[in-house]
Amino acid sequence: MYKRLAIIVLAFSFVGFFIHVYSAYLMLVFPPSVETELEAWKRKERMLSTIQSVYSHVGLVLFLSLIYYLCTPNDLFKEYKRIIFVILVSDLAGGMLGLTLGILITKSLRHAELIKQADYIRAIIIPTLFNWMIRPLGSLFEGFTACTLSYIRRREDQEWK
């Protein structure tokens, strides 16, 4: 159960931060100086905003459903501390992974090379840092609620049997 929970939390945190970094990249190096590139750039930005909008709507439902159906604790009264720990650590790790990988990938893109690399990294990390520290709390409340409700469902099922 813990492994599944850790993977789900890590994956969602990773995707969230990767999108965040990519959108920061688009903002930082926008607009391109060459007129012909502008159209391609706009297309990219439009696509990213669509992905962001879909993710913001579907992400939470998917996150809650996956934990609810796949991460039912055996005994919530004994395991709650471990559940809290796993969610917090996985979210921090996922965020760090998304941030690092996002920076590595976007840094190698052509437009990012125009800016000084140190400036680029600083410009992305500083605004993201606060989000990286606060986000695990949100994930904790969402994940723990889903785990509790899943445990209640299991108890109800057992009582029925």
């Binding site: 009264f77 709390l137 409340f141 723990f144 609620t145 509790t148 409700l149």
Partner: protein, 178 residues
């Protein structure tokens, strides 16, 4: 317990919306030449400090109050009631906060000097663009309070609830009488 929970959630959401309305005053007043600049900066500074203090202490206060004051008697039976109560209290809080905010801000000295009707028109336009905030349930508050309630219930652990103690007392008395 449910009544206490409703009151806590309602108060916090109402304060959130009161802040939203007070936030509307500043861009409205800033665009008007009648407002003295230093007065504007002074008020905005005080408001920003107050808002920041509130937003930093809000999670601790909301979580702490729910954790210590709203321990469910039986989470397994009451969880649906709890979720409905939190969502309903959220909507009620939005209504109360908006009504209070509208009344209080429309009597503000700035709004009085500039014109209340113009202000109400401005509020209507602004709120139209923020309709989603009013219509969507306060999910963050729901998750936070539900986690606090669950942890509070876990803290009590296998200790019997007040209802159970009452039942045991009644049955013991019956046994003694027999």
């Amino acid at each position: 317990m449910i009544r206490r929970l409703i009151i806590i959630v309602l108060i916090f959401i109402a304060i959130d919306f009161l802040f939203i309305f007070y936030h509307l005053i500043f861009p409205f007043a800033f665009n008007r030449s009648e407002i003295k600049e230093w007065d504007w900066i002074d008020r905005f500074g005080r408001f920003a400090v107050l808002q920041l203090t509130y937003y930093v202490s809000r999670p601790f206060l909301l979580f702490g109050l729910t954790y210590f004051l709203c321990t469910p008697e039986n989470l397994f039976k009451d969880y649906k009631k709890i979720i409905i109560a939190i969502i309903a209290a959220g909507y009620l809080g939005k209504l109360v906060g908006s009504a209070l905010g509208l009344i209080l801000t429309s009597f503000d000295s700035w709004v009085q000097t500039i014109g209340r009707e113009e202000y109400l028109e401005f509020v209507r336009e602004e709120l139209g663009s923020r309709l989603k905030v009013f219509l969507s349930p306060s999910l963050a508050t729901l998750f936070m309070t539900f986690t606090a309630l669950s942890l509070s219930y876990i803290r009590r652990g296998s200790r019997p609830s007040r209802q159970d103690i009452g039942k045991v007392e009644v049955s013991t008395r019956r046994c003694i009488n027999v």
